[in-house]
Symmetry: C2
Subunit: 148 residues, 2 copies
DNA sequence: AGACATCTAATGCCAACGCATTTAATGAAG
DNA sequence: CTTCATTAAATGCGTTGGCATTAGATGTCT
């Protein structure tokens, strides 16, 4: 294992650690603020945003799963929660009676519009700026030092 | 709301979306491979790595929580799981009998050494390279051009 | 038409997390 | 020495998520 390999591994792991830390910080802050101010979680918000920004305001369940980065089963339950809260409505897809459409209700759209500023505000506060690219070779070990 | 505000908001949200997607992809892949090959999850691995790279190979619980990005309660349960699996050992802290030290067992160290290559391999495969920083100013609308 | 592989969404089951609370130890103030 | 606020870790409880399975619909092939 060469020096540059060690440096590259270090850089790779550091990037992952930073991503984890950043994700935890932003997710936590979003969860707290969205829950306190609007009574929804991050997954709920991402789903509502997916629905609100979808072309025809209705979505196949699979698209919703993609928007919220959830498994099929979690998406099914998320939809159930949103429906129970009156934020979305399930509709049968007449083309393929296995599938469903999920569409925003007026209440859902209103809640999304209310929550969006909160979401953006938290992002602006907590999501760090992308670094201007440190002037250093990517494959060499810059200065291991220790951090944290 | 000015054009640049819209552009900045868009950029902010896009960064968050990319971070979410990247996190989901890498976390999912890590979870799968670490679980299949070594029988541990991502949080377990991060904790083991925290312990293995800690100066004296033992850690206060709070440091562990920091390493794994978990709440205090989740850390307590994570420690219990690791202890049940024989990977760590709890030790009383004689300076402050409220606190505990968590330290790697030999088995824990061996498992960590085994799992590390898997971890690095997955990161190398799935974690995307940081973009070479597109030439654009952060607060002004550089060239709105297109946007999704 | 009938059998079969495939696909969608829902559900049973269980693991993991966070919040709130509890228990125990510490340290400061009266 | 006796309170009382503070801190560390453990635990009860409820929520959310993934995996595996199930139920129903579709399309294909014979």
């Amino acid at each position: 294992m060469s020096v540059s390999d060690v440096g590259a591994e270090r850089a790779l792991v550091d990037r992952w650690q930073r991503l984890l830390a950043c994700h935890a910080a932003v997710w936590g802050a979003l969860e707290r603020e969205l829950q306190n101010r609007h009574g929804i979680g991050v997954s709920e918000f991402e789903a509502l945003e997916g629905l609100a920004t979808c072309d025809h305001e209705k979505c196949r369940a699979a698209e919703l799963a993609d928007a919220a980065h959830l498994s099929q089963s979690a998406t099914s339950r998320l939809t159930a929660r949103l429906e129970r809260a009156g934020l979305v409505q399930r509709a049968m897809c007449d083309m393929d009676r296995r599938g469903i459409f999920v569409l925003l209700t007026e209440k859902g759209r209103r809640l999304y519009e209310e929550a969006r500023p909160t979401h953006r505000e938290v992002l602006a506060e907590v999501l760090p700026e992308p670094e201007p690219a440190k002037a250093s070779a990517p494959t060499s070990a810059p200065t291991p030092a220790n951090g944290r």
